[in-house]
């Protein structure tokens, strides 16, 4: 039996690797996504264009402006001389932020009255707006504390001592790149497994396969194991890229990571085989894979936190294998967790894998004529 299954696996791998279209599916989308997600999909801000409207021409206000311009986050692209310039600049999206320093700024500072500074942000992209405000806020707070120390003013009664655990510099890449491991492993496995039966149906070789002495279990095994192999290789390549190219720290146990990936790939294979047994043409299989993939990525916490979603949808994400593998991948990479930390996730993935594989087997038997 094993020899025959092995022949099936070898054939499957050869078919995937020799067909230029399948090869393209294996290589092009992962490469593009790794580059695009790794570099373009970032919430970190750089070179945000700002304009300063400094109506108080004195040393303290120039110091404040210098703090803004010294930050790598902001670059000044316009200087404002009259209040009328503000609106057109913001409207035309020439700048995202206008820092407007009141003429009374220095006077109020020196007289211990709150010195007014206005921050006007373009809210069309509200996430960027909030982050810009956060950066501006901390620059101004630092300036304020510095001023108080320098001028013998009483220190504020309490100071925030903020530390970000696991990702001290709050680097978005550390968040996105481990996520890509899960996303790309899913995309590749799903396409390889999901299209394999449809491809054989189209070519007519599926009937040929069914009249050989293979049992249906062996055929399923022969279709599933190559997916596990390819998914595993794909995941390992991206893990290497994450560690050595994107410099994301891998702090936890590899065993915990690979155990999670194994269960995850098994679940994805089950889903892929379900799509495969339902689709008659590769076209349909592709559409089915797409229809599964988009919600599974959007509702996984890959780019946006699950906690922000409406409660009903949050509950729904429990069914999504992506959700669990993302917790495992990020946990092992950044939080340094071990196997024991992920017991619920392993159980959820194992359950999904078992159910989807059983369902695939059942559908397969129903459709295999």
């Amino acid at each position: 039996m094993w020899q025959a299954v092995l022949a099936l696996i070898v054939k499957e791998l050869l078919a995937v690797l020799k067909d230029p279209r399948s090869r393209m599916v294996l290589i092009v989308p992962p490469l593009i996504q790794l580059i695009v997600f790794g570099y373009a999909a970032t919430f970190d801000l750089n070179r945000v264009p700002i304009a300063v409207y400094n109506q108080d021409h004195s040393q303290p206000s120039r110091d404040l402006v210098a703090r803004f311009l010294g930050s790598r986050v902001f670059t000044q692209t316009a200087v404002i001389r009259t209040a009328r310039q503000i609106t057109p600049l913001l409207d035309a999206r020439k700048v995202d932020l206008v820092v407007s320093i009141d003429p009374r700024f220095t006077r109020d500072l020196l007289t211990h009255r709150p010195a007014p500074v206005q921050l006007i942000v373009d809210g069309r992209d509200s996430n960027t707006a909030l982050i810009i405000l956060g950066y501006a806020n901390s620059i101004i707070t630092q300036f304020g504390l510095n001023w108080m120390r320098g001028h013998g003013a009483p220190a504020p009664p309490a100071l925030l001592d903020i530390r970000a655990r696991y990702n001290p510099t709050l680097n978005s890449q550390w968040f996105i790149v481990p996520g890509i491991i899960a996303v790309l492993t899913q995309v590749v496995t799903l396409l390889v497994v999901g299209l394999s039966v449809a491809r054989e149906r189209e070519a007519g070789t599926f009937d040929q396969l069914l009249v050989t002495p293979f049992t249906q279990g062996e055929i399923l095994l022969g279709k599933g194991l190559p997916g596990l192999l390819i998914g595993g290789v794909e995941a390992s390549v991206i893990i290497l890229a994450a560690v050595f190219w994107f410099d994301v720290p891998l702090r936890g146990s590899l065993l915990a990571l690979y155990l999670g990936l194994f269960l995850f790939v098994a679940a994805v294979i089950g889903i892929g085989l379900m799509i495969s047994s339902l689709a008659v043409t590769q076209q349909q299989a592709l559409l089915g894979a797409f229809l599964f993939m988009v919600p599974s990525i959007v509702l996984s916490g890959f780019a946006t936190p699950i906690a922000n979603m409406p409660p009903v949808i949050q509950e729904l994400t429990w069914l999504n294998p992506m959700r669990h593998i993302l917790i495992i991948v990020r946990g092992t990479f950044l939080e340094g967790s071990g196997v024991h930390a992920f017991v619920p996730e392993y159980l959820a993935l194992a359950a999904t894998a078992a159910l989807s594989l059983l369902a695939a087997g059942w559908l397969f038997r129903k459709r295999a004529y």
Binding site: Q3, L6, A7, K11, K18, T205, D207, L210, V211, T215
Partner: protein, 600 residues
């Protein structure tokens, strides 16, 4: 000058050549073809698969850029004025692109508009076309739901919304049942008579070529012959014989005759063997075959196909059959399992394949309606029928690919759908279109199927070597099977199906699309297998293939219309004015007889 008086040819080809592929690997599709077609005639374009027929038609239609040579359509230079030439010709591609989600009427109206048929003229023209094609009752039907024959008729009607001066038809009758084929030809003949248009039609059916006024025979891109069909057929006049022998089975006799020097072609036809001898060679003598044998040799009038095969075989350009060693039974490699001398199946023996009241329903549609037949060991049994007659459904049920709705079926004593997987090791299966793993090489395909059939290593390697040698695939072992010529694909498919020396062989349309030579070679092999005791079940819509079967079941609309051996089926339609009916005549007569009660 005198030449000016002659009518200008409707089509003139002058030294036309065409190549596909890259500069590094050019593939010649046409090499220096020069020919012409007189106005108001039907010219047939024949030749094996890949001979360049479609390329030639596309060049004339202006769909491909002319690389070298000159093509004139009705006096217009195609390369210089493609639109001018195009406006005056009609072209029906091989698979005419009907919009399947549009109805018959909508398809016709689309083409009427696109071809600028004035609305007032369309009323008359449209009803004439519908009448002519017999599509009038189906105007509201989606064209995707038409039968293959009706689709082709609709395609032809769409091409004819505006009567062209030159009509190009690319294999218009492929996949079309014999009745529809006759109707299509009736339409073409009618048009030529009444409208005087010129037709250039490519076909792989040689009997269709005989209806043409002139035939152009292409082979590997070269024009091998351009004559009128009777002249073409006459090339073998006096060299065609019908042979039978007492004390020797027809298959054995055919195999022996095929190896006799001086015999160019030997095919089974009913209970006879039809042979064509080489120029100057005497008809074979009994003593040359086997001592004590009595041969009955009768000279018969030559057929078109005789000359076709004779020409290709003597042409020297023949690639396939010439290289292969004479086929031997698959049992040779493994020794004692062969039953070369076994007489074809004793009557009391249990049938190897049995179908009783076999029925299959798809929703409301009764695809197979209570079919019964039995196949004995060593017999070649044919399921003959048009597309949609139910033969593929029956075939798939027998192979265990499709559950039967009701009825019994037994293959080697098992119902393959329910039996253990190991029971399938007894059967070999060759699917339509030679389904192999196209991306895998020849050797990889063989290795895969050897393992799939659970062969272990010394034997596995021996069988793979056998396949490479027996089917002359050795030189192509590393070739990607998708890129093999069709004839090789067919051989590889058969090799894979025979890997495990099955007792029963299922063949689904085994030679569709391959040229007559490859078809002959294929059947020689199948005959040898049957001689050795392998039971063969074959589906086909080729009347010619039906001749090779020991017994046939003729299917139509899911029912068995008739069954019996080819001669008895033909004998049913033998009349005084039609003493030599063909299989096709028999088939059509059966269909017509079956249609009678419905019409009444």
């Amino acid at each position: 000058m005198a030449a000016a008086a002659e009518p200008r040819p409707a089509l003139r080809l002058e030294n036309v050549s065409h190549q596909f592929g890259s500069h590094a690997h050019p593939e010649t599709a046409l090499a220096g073809v020069s020919a012409s077609a007189a106005a108001g005639t039907v010219t047939g374009l024949i030749g094996p698969d890949g001979a360049g027929k479609t390329t030639l038609l596309r060049l004339v239609a202006g769909l491909l850029r002319l690389q070298s040579g000159r093509i004139e359509v009705l006096g217009e230079d195609v390369a210089g004025n493609p639109d001018g030439a195009r406006a005056r010709l009609g072209y029906m591609p091989q698979r005419f692109g009907l919009y399947e989600d549009l109805t018959v009427r909508e398809n016709l109206e689309l083409y009427a508009k696109v071809q600028n048929v004035p609305p007032q003229a369309w009323t008359a023209r449209g009803s004439e076309l519908m009448h002519m094609t017999g599509l009038a009752p189906f105007l509201g039907r989606l064209s995707g739901r038409l039968s293959g024959g009706m689709k082709q008729k609709l395609g032809l009607a769409c091409t004819l919304v505006r009567i062209p001066e030159l009509l190009l038809l690319d294999e218009p009758t492929v996949g079309v049942d014999p009745v529809s084929r006759r109707e299509l030809w009736a339409i073409i003949d009618h048009l030529v008579r009444t409208e005087g248009l010129t037709v250039l039609v490519s076909t792989s059916y040689l009997d269709e070529a005989e209806r043409c006024e002139r035939v152009l025979l292409l082979h590997e891109g070269r024009l091998v012959s351009a004559t009128d069909p009777s002249e073409f057929a006459a090339q073998t006049s006096g060299r065609s014989f019908q042979v039978s022998a007492e004390g020797m089975g027809k298959r054995r006799l055919q195999a022996e005759l095929a190896q006799t020097p001086g015999v160019l072609d030997a095919t089974i036809q009913g209970s006879f063997v039809r042979i064509v001898t080489a120029v100057g060679a005497p008809p074979p003598s009994a003593s040359a075959l086997a001592p004590g044998l009595t041969l009955n040799i009768t000279q018969v009038p030559p057929r078109f196909e005789d000359s076709f095969v004779a020409l290709l075989k003597t042409d020297g350009a023949v690639s396939l059959a010439a290289q292969t060693p004479a086929p031997s039974a698959s049992g040779d490699a493994a020794g004692p399992t062969a039953h070369r001398t076994a007489p074809p199946a004793a009557a009391e023996e249990e049938p190897v394949i049995l179908a009783a009241q076999l029925t299959r329903r798809f929703g409301d549609f009764l695809a197979v309606d209570a079919i019964s037949f039995a196949v004995r060991r060593g017999e070649i049994f044919g399921l003959l029928g048009a597309n949609g007659a139910g033969k593929s459904t029956t075939f798939r049920m027998l192979c265990g690919l499709l559950p039967a709705t009701s009825g019994t079926l037994r293959v080697a004593g098992y119902d393959l759908r329910r039996a253990a997987a190991s029971a399938r090791a007894r059967i070999g299966y060759m699917a339509q279109k030679f389904s192999l793993y196209g991306d895998l090489s020849v050797l990889e395909n063989l290795r895969f199927f050897a393992s799939a059939y659970r062969l272990r290593d010394p034997q596995r390697r021996a069988r793979i070597d056998w396949a490479l040698e027996e089917f002359a695939l050795g030189a192509h072992a590393a070739a990607v099977s998708r890129e093999l010529p069709l004839g090789y694909k067919q051989r590889l498919a058969l090799a894979c199906a025979l890997m495990h020396e099955p007792q029963i062989l299922f063949l689904d349309e085994p030679t569709s699309g391959v040229d007559p030579l490859a078809r002959r070679e294929f059947w020689r092999r199948i005959n040898a297998l049957a001689e050795s005791g392998v039971t063969v079940l074959v589906t086909t819509h080729f009347m010619e293939e039906a001749e090779y079967c020991d017994r046939l079941a003729v299917l139509a609309q899911g029912k068995v219309l008739a069954s019996g051996d080819p001669d008895s089926l033909k004998a049913r339609v033998r009349t005084a004015d039609h003493p030599q009916p063909t299989m096709e005549d028999a088939f059509i007569a059966l269909l017509e007889a079956a249609a009678q009660p419905h019409a009444a």
